[in-house]
Amino acid sequence: MTHSSPRGALFIKSVVLLIGALLLFAPFLFQETRSLEVAARICIFVVLVASYDLLIGYTGIVSFAHTMFFGFGAYGAAIALKQMGPGWDAVLVGVLAGLAVSIVVAIAIGLLSLRVKAIFFAMITLAAASVVLVLASQLSDLTGGEDGITYKAPQVFKTANKLMVDDAGKVARVFGVKLNGKLAAYYFVFTSCLVLFILCLRMVASPLGTVLKAIRENEARAEAIGYRVVAYRTFVFCIAAVAASLAGSIYAIWLKYTGPDTALSFTIMIDILLMVVIGGMGTMYGAVIGAVLLVLAQYYLRDLMGAASDALHGIPLLPELFEPDRWLLWLGIIFILLVYFFPKGIAGTIWDKGARS
């Protein structure tokens, strides 16, 4: 891919760099709480989608359990912070606990079912994820049930915390932005997500990534050359699970709330699927583009659709179809069309354009 004419590739890379820069300076560029929420959500989903791309795009495994691992991480951090009080020891314990559960479950599922057909694996992960979702809402002593858990983040990340004070003893401001705990929390999210994303990027460029692609393209041949396909598949499934679990913990620390809707629900899985397909499977950079587009759509498309719904008032059924809550309908249609006509997604299609000309 990289040694072909780099025009399209260059374009994609510069877009991703631009997005990275925007995210880096997000607190200074967009000074409202909502924008910061959007930026943090984008960071988290970039990691989540990139790790999912390792599975679906690079190895050709379809898993519906990615949110389950995300949830393990989130609930691990949440339960630890709730039980042990806000502190870094709690964060450490929670993250490690989430990771441990994720790895054990990933190995169990992987060894049990990665031998069989892709379709079987998809069904089994779907079933496992649904069981975990039910468990999370039923074990309400531990997980808070449907209501979820609210807790406090470590001291540094509290909005009231002053990172720097000016002469008057108030929070110092840089370009009008308060240097408080919220800012620290955002940069914690941004840096850790950046590191995780770069690790994913590094992994697909390594010899391991090449083997994974070989498995995707021709499983029997990869096996014949001497690679143990099941071991590789299980390994990459674990890596993806670890990344998702870490992303979950980071999100839990940022949100200071964890519940089935934010960490486990099937809608998140659908979001991830939409992002990876819209961005482009097997490109990694596509993860960034897909996550940005979809999170922006989630937050801002609704307003647009609300306007459309009002404009169509009086016509039967159409206003219902354009209602803000129906945004998934339109994304679903776009999703189907994309899978038909641009199976490589936005990033993959543009990438190839440069190669052809």
Partner: protein, 330 residues
């Protein structure tokens, strides 16, 4: 040991599994009357799940297409028949079995017709372009599922819908101290009728012969000059219609349905199809009955375990037989 397994095989092999489960449950439960009630409930639930799952299994067996959007037909069937029943509520409440029956069959007919048409549309528009490409099949059918769930939300709204039952199916029969809900018996009878019909079509007719041959070796059937794609459209339509019928039955059983119904049933249907072995109708029936029985027994014996019972059952069976209890020859 070898002789024992041979004897078991002669008496029905894996088909004895539900009987064993029933016997074990009988010992554990102790009270015969509650055992009978639970068994009837399990069997009728199994039959309804069988209706929903059989199409999925056949479609996969014949064309190697796994439709993740299958549960959309279940929910559409449930909602269409609920609307039809609500529309004819006058006839349903009437103290006249003939009127009741007409209303019920019209509602089921509406669900079936909807399933046929929607199945045709789904096959031709959504699935035909992505034959032989599993990854895109999974993605596309998933996308179709998202869209159809949203359409249901747009048309019927998010609030739970009450499903009226015909008067003659209300209440229950009493045999001594055993109570059997009439609706459950009806569901069992209907499921059994569908199974017998399916069995007859598959085993006794020319079309059934072609379908079975197609499951076993598609290329050979094509080479012999049969248009298997056309056959497949037919199977897809019938499978979708059966799912819609199953959804309609389930709606009457639950009496209160929400748009989340499809998603909940999809997991159960998948588990049943995996347990039974993809591609075989007998396996699906067996899996459905196992799931129905186990869900009811465990729900009575250890309610805490009930949530995970399906999953545990699937894991146990997959460890024992990795490709399901009765897979189609492949």
């Amino acid at each position: 040991m070898n002789q024992l397994s041979q004897t078991l095989e002669r008496f029905g092999g894996v088909y004895l599994l539900p009987v064993f489960v029933g016997l074990i449950a009988f010992v554990l439960i102790g009270a015969p009357s509650s055992w009978v009630t639970l068994t009837v409930a399990g069997l009728s639930m199994g039959m309804m799940i069988f209706l929903m799952a059989s199409g999925l299994s056949l479609i996969f067996g014949l064309m190697d297409v796994l439709n993740f959007g299958h549960s959309a037909f279940i929910s559409f069937g449930a909602f269409v028949s609920a609307s039809a029943l609500a529309y004819m509520s006058g006839w349903l409440g009437a103290d006249n079995i003939a009127l009741n029956l007409i209303a019920l069959f019209l509602a089921f007919g509406a669900a079936l017709a909807f399933g046929l048409v929607a199945g045709w549309f789904f096959e031709v528009v959504i699935i035909k372009p992505v034959y032989h490409d599993h990854l895109r099949q999974i993605l596309i059918t998933m996308g179709a599922l998202i869209v159809s769930e949203q359409i249901i939300l747009a048309v019927w709204g998010g609030a739970p819908v009450t499903v009226p039952r015909p008067a003659f199916l209300e209440g229950s029969w009493l045999f001594g101290d055993v109570t059997v809900e009439i609706y459950r018996a009806f569901a069992f009878a209907l499921g059994l009728a569908v199974y017998i019909a399916l069995y007859f079509v598959l085993k006794r007719t020319r079309i059934g012969l072609l379908i079975r041959a197609g499951v076993e070796n598609r290329e050979m059937v094509e080479a012999l000059g049969f248009k298997i794609n056309r056959l497949f459209v037919g199977v897809f339509m019938v499978g979708s219609a059966l799912a819609a019928l199953g959804g309609a039955m389930w709606a009457g059983y639950e009496t209160l349905i929400t748009p989340a119904l499809g998603g909940e049933m999809m997991i159960v249907v998948f588990i049943v199809v995996i347990i039974g072995g993809l591609g075989s109708v007998e396996g699906t029936l067996l899996g459905a009955i196992m799931v129905g029985l186990i869900a009811n027994y465990i729900g009575f014996l250890a309610p805490k375990l009930a949530l995970a019972s399906n999953m545990l059952l699937m894991m146990a069976i997959l460890l024992w037989r990795p490709s399901g209890l009765k897979p189609a020859v492949k």
